[in-house]
Symmetry: none
Subunit: 134 residues, 2 copies
DNA sequence: TGAAATTTAAACACTTTTCCTTAACCACCT
DNA sequence: AGGTGGTTAAGGAAAAGTGTTTAAATTTCA
């Protein structure tokens, strides 16, 4: 079968894009319309999202949704929330406060800005008290 | 649009599988043949691989094209080529010869037949000397 | 070895994706 | 207004993916 989700065309566009080229410039290079470059790029980003969601599903296979860390939340308040939610469902979180915060930032650095949660972060927990973020 | 890569059918099978059911048992539950359950499960796992590969590709975006391993090339000659090309652009490859060959074969088993490169393989390198193949 | 579980292959109808074009539209910026 | 960069809509043709079945082959393991 195919390897990744992205077609050659999609990868090509993403690479040029990464270099900072405009859609118009890329269109000239690969001999097509800028509208087409836009569509290809959009499809590529969509495929990347789908890849992310797919792997996220794997966690939910043995984990359960615990709570959502909403955008704007102070990172230091996250553990408290997570502990209390875990207690509600009768599970014990595997990590202490410090470790939890580090794990939170390490697994998804883009999602945080300083001490603040930038975008919503979904928190999952499994039987063992392992946490996953998506 | 669609969300993950996995179809409802595929998720259904994976969930039952996670619970420990056999393909036969699942076939009865979802009213189809066990062969079909097998195919669906296989497709699901394949899709999961593709999702992983897709996200892997994102790393290559920070990387730069180093060289092409042309079809027919002896796998054992690849490291030499890669090292010399890396030197030209002032980067140091992170892997020794053995590791490099293994990585080459592991990341894309379909591309090799014994010691020979079957199709062209593009080699990318990033600032850290990490190599990616596409 | 024998039975159960799993995998594979070929074929088919059906749906979805992809790439492409043309043409229009939006948001800036000077 | 005009230019630049980006997006959207409609439509079409080719390619790829999905769910199925049937039948045969393989693996697993008590």
């Amino acid at each position: 079968m195919k390897q990744g989700l992205l077609t050659d065309r999609q990868k090509e566009v993403l690479r040029y894009r990464k270099k900072g080229l405009t859609q118009q410039q890329i269109a000239e290079i690969i001999h097509t319309s800028k509208a087409n470059v836009c569509t290809i790029e959009k499809a590529a980003l969509e495929n990347i999202s789908r890849a992310r969601e797919t792997l996220e599903f794997l966690y939910t296979l043995d984990a359960v949704h615990l709570c959502t860390l909403q955008g704007g939340l102070d990172l230091l308040k996250a553990p408290e929330l997570i502990y209390s939610e875990a207690e509600k469902v009768g599970l014990k979180v595997k990590y202490d406060t410090i470790t939890l915060i580090n794990r939170l930032r390490d697994t998804n650095p883009d999602r945080f800005r300083g001490r603040q949660v930038r975008e919503d972060v979904e928190v999952y927990i499994n039987e063992d008290g392992d946490l996953y973020f998506g």
